[in-house]
């Protein structure tokens, strides 16, 4: 099952070196589609054509920087400000569905989809649920923090997130008294945020917990209460001193395990959740992490520009998450403005197993094959049927004639081909292509059946 990784394992440094397209691995539409599928939410035919003229490195660079303007012409900065403003106006107890819908809307329209895609990764890494926090204002503020630091230095991100009120409430750490340090918080910081299991002891957790004493949430804000802080010496991972929480983070990030842990998580997000990456293959990424003083952007760029990432054998090794599926089909079918009601799209994603702001546990969503089961697939199918219907609240936003015109297709069959090439890229088998053309011939004036058939195809569920 891991055969495609075996060739890369022979020379891990070469695997993560820059991909230079050649005859056997050309920079073609399928390669561009792959980059956008993995680093954002997929690309429109026009975007694929544009990126085809660039080098892979430039295409990655454009994707990470984002477009200067959103689809409606507003500048990227204005776009971000607009959403931040609406979100903050909702206040501390705005309805959950409203903030879920706003984030979906932002992802569908954003000129920086790669930023939203990575923010979603951090939401899963620092998984916090409104079910317990019960305060949508704090939840939105947490995601804003994750977005701000998404491509930044991991150490800064960790300090900010650890002091984030939603996070502290979520981990029962909103009142960390000197007399009773909260081990749960220290445990999650090590187990889920930085090192992973097996790289620390129960004793390390107990000692680190003392460093976080004095950390409180007072009136929805982080507060350091000096008289509650344990100023004594602590021994954590072999180092001894009167550490503060921030100093604990520095110790954790100096551990070789932390670079490997983050490399593994990022590789799961961008490459494959089902393949097992041996440590030797992750080491070059951990090295990039260390040499760049913990720059997330440096690691992400290395992954996206790499030979391993662009190996065609590595395609469709990830199951699309429900948000990825939902936002992706909107972006690729250009249902951005006007789009189907975002709150209903968010509801659909919840039915498929991914409610934004409500991950199931501190470990986030299981992901991978766990995204796929009977009811979750029926939920995916039902979203597709609802979007393709002529009646109902999600219908009417799919403008296939406009889409076909922009894609430059000239007949129902060439539109069926263009839809398949955009949505499924190189995963279309000849038999399916034939079936899609037959569908297009059967109902030439209305290609909704072609879209329904494509979006429910097993290969569309994979990235």
């Amino acid at each position: 099952m891991n055969s495609w990784l075996d060739s890369h394992l022979k020379d891990p440094r070469a695997a993560w070196s820059s991909h230079e397209p050649d005859k056997s691995r050309p920079w073609d539409r399928a390669s561009v589609a792959h980059l956008h599928r993995r680093a954002a939410f997929g690309a429109t035919p026009a975007r694929i054509s544009a990126d085809l003229k660039l080098s892979p490195k430039m295409a990655v660079d454009n994707l990470i920087k984002g477009s200067a303007t959103a689809s409606d012409g507003t500048s990227a900065a204005e776009f971000a400000k607009f959403f931040d403003r609406i979100e903050s106006r909702l206040g501390l107890d705005g309805p959950l569905r409203r903030i879920q819908g706003l984030w979906v809307q932002r992802m569908v329209n954003s000129p920086r989809p790669a930023l939203e895609w990575l923010t979603l990764f951090w939401h899963n890494h620092f998984a916090t649920s409104d079910v317990k926090v019960q305060n949508t204002g704090l939840m939105v503020a947490q995601i804003a923090t994750l977005r701000r630091h998404a491509f930044g230095k991991f150490g800064v991100m960790l300090d900010r997130v650890a002091k984030n009120p939603a996070m502290l409430v979520w981990l029962d750490a909103a009142a960390n008294r000197r007399t009773k340090p909260n081990e749960n918080f220290a445990r999650e910081v090590m187990e889920l945020f930085t090192l992973g299991r097996g790289h620390y002891t129960e004793k390390d957790i107990q000692e680190a917990a003392r460093a976080y004493t004095g950390w409180f949430v007072v009136q929805e804000r982080f507060a350091f209460l000096e008289q509650q802080h344990d100023t004594g010496t602590k021994t954590v991972l072999g180092q001894t001193g009167p550490f503060t929480g921030e100093q604990i983070h520095q110790i954790l990030l100096k551990q070789p395990a932390s670079g490997l842990f983050l490399a593994k998580k990022l590789v799961q997000h961008y490459v494959s959740e089902t393949d097992i990456f041996p440590e030797a293959l992750l080491q070059p990424l951990a090295d990039v992490f260390r040499e760049s003083q913990g720059s997330i952007e440096a690691v992400v760029r290395t992954i996206l520009e790499s030979r391993l990432f662009h190996d065609p054998a590595g395609r469709r090794r990830r199951v699309k998450s429900p948000i990825e599926f939902t936002v992706g089909l909107c972006r690729m079918l250009e249902m951005a403005d006007p789009m189907p009601p975002p709150e209903l799209l968010a509801d659909s994603a919840s039915a498929m197993g991914q409610g934004l702001y409500v991950p199931p546990s501190v470990a986030g969503w299981d992901g991978g094959a766990a995204w796929i089961d009977t009811t979750r697939l029926v939920a995916r199918t039902n979203l597709v049927l609802a979007i393709c219907s002529q009646t109902g609240p999600l219908s009417g936003k799919l403008k296939l004639e406009d889409w076909a015109r922009r894609a430059g297709s000239t007949s129902p069959e060439s539109t069926a081909d263009a839809l398949a090439d955009t949505l499924l890229a190189d995963s279309v088998k000849p038999q399916l292509r034939l079936e899609l053309r037959t569908l297009a011939k059967t109902t030439p004036k209305d290609l909704r059946p072609v879209v329904a058939r494509i979006l429910t195809d097993p290969s569309f569920q994979l990235a």
Binding site: D172, R316, V319, D373, T374, V384, L385, R448
Partner: protein, 430 residues
């Protein structure tokens, strides 16, 4: 042996929208085969297992309460429960007052409480401990299948007399416990989640497409049903294709389920609805034999007392309703319910009026029991007997599984659990 799925066979079942959507590829899932194999597999007398997993780590010490045993009151200064509130099991031990609805099952000899259950070197991570309980394997590299998944696999072997199929009722991902190699296990929370919904315009277009297909199929005798190669170079694609087939077929099957409500009232809670659905599936004659469900919220690190009482109340009221429902439908002798959690909680409460992750805990079984009431001794709470602040296990949980597999499901536990787990004789032999 399994019937291949193709579009025509689904169309014959009249599935709305089928011509427009992918129907996946693979075999009909096991749990849908009752009608096809009704003659061959008589399911009426087959035993059924219902598993209720308490997620988050249930506080065993405040569920089966050792109120008179030395150490309890010391560890639980603010959370301790007094003898007068408890349901008496012995002079020293009583059940939490919220479990009162289960008193009837207890008095009828249908309930046992197995004490001190756990496994060697307890792990206090939720995820790891759930993996251990659900896979029944201590090796973290052996998590491909769950214990009930393997039970299903074994039952599919030709030498087996009856097949075991399962379904997960709940909103979490398919539990590892149900992951099998040879069959797909469906997962649902409510029946309407399996309903395919498209509007009339799509139904009309589906009919058009179907008409065209019929013409084409008749004109081309060689037309093949849509099948995807099972051994595709990407196993993930095969998996999604198979699950798509299961989803589409399940949708048809369960949409037709007899939906008449029974006379027993279930509470309007998460677990109440789940057990009501289990009951409907059992009473409709579906040949599913393993129903796996759960109740979340047991990770009570802070202000535990009311939250915990509420959760146990939900468990007891729902389970009592299910018990009386099964009794009314004369299914009691077929059904055994296993209630467990990934770990118990520490003896010493924390400073937030809650409890932290612990180790050994009691397990509850209801059904046709051979051993009733309290089984086994309560683990010692003497400080010298504690393991890192936790009570020690004396009964490996796999012995309970072995009992269920042997005495209830009629399977050889060794092939599923490995050797060394003696069945405990808890359940009457099938």
């Amino acid at each position: 042996m399994m019937t291949p799925i193709n579009r025509r066979s689904l169309l014959k079942t009249g599935l709305a929208g089928a011509p427009l959507i992918s129907v996946g590829a693979g075999s009909f899932p096991l749990f849908l085969q009752s009608t096809a194999n009704a003659a061959k597999w008589d399911t009426k007398g087959e035993k059924i297992l219902v598993v209720i997993q308490l997620l988050g780590g249930n506080d065993g010490l405040n569920t089966v309460v050792p109120h008179k045993i030395d150490g309890y009151s010391r560890g639980r200064r603010s959370l301790r429960l007094g003898a007068s509130t408890l349901i008496k099991l012995s002079d020293e031990i009583g059940l939490h007052a919220s479990l009162k609805p289960l008193e009837k099952s207890l008095n009828d000899g249908r309930l046992s409480v197995i004490q001190g259950v756990g496994y060697p070197n307890p792990d206090r991570s939720h995820f790891r401990s759930m993996d251990i309980w659900e896979s029944a394997r201590l090796d973290p590299n052996e998590l491909q299948t769950g214990w009930l998944g393997r039970a299903m696999d074994v039952s599919l072997e030709s030498s087996s007399k009856s097949r075991i199929s399962g379904v997960h009722i709940g909103s979490r991902n398919l539990p590892l416990a149900l992951r099998a190699r040879r069959t797909d296990v469906p997962s649902l929370e409510r029946l309407d989640q399996l309903q395919l919904k498209g509007d009339n315009s799509l139904t009309r277009m589906a009919a058009e497409v179907d008409k065209m297909r019929l013409v084409e199929t008749n004109s081309k005798a060689s037309a093949k049903p849509e099948m995807m190669p099972e051994n595709s170079d990407n196993p993930l694609l095969g998996f999604v294709a198979r699950t798509t087939a299961t989803a589409v077929a399940s949708s048809k099957k369960l949409a037709d389920l007899d939906t008449k409500p029974g006379t027993v009232k279930y509470p309007a809670t998460a677990l109440g609805s789940r057990l009501e659905l289990v009951s409907r599936m059992i009473k409709s004659g579906l040949d599913t034999r393993v129903f796996y469900t759960g109740l979340d919220g047991f990770d009570t690190h802070a202000n535990q007392i009311n939250v915990h009482a509420g959760l146990l109340d939900q468990l007891a009221v729902s389970l009592a309703a299910f018990e009386s429902d099964m009794s009314e439908a004369s299914q009691s002798d077929r059904v055994c319910v296993l209630v467990f959690s990934e770990f118990g909680r520490r003896l010493a409460e924390n400073a937030s009026m809650g409890t932290d992750h612990g180790a050994a805990a009691p397990v509850i079984l209801t059904g046709p029991m051979a051993k009733k009431g309290l089984v086994g001794k309560h683990p010692s709470m003497d400080p010298k007997d504690l393991n890192d602040g936790d009570v020690m296990y004396h009964t490996d949980f796999r012995r309970i599984y072995a009992d269920i597999l042997t005495n209830h499901l009629g399977l050889d536990p060794v092939s599923i659990l490995g050797t060394g787990f003696e069945p405990m004789g808890l359940i009457k032999k099938a």
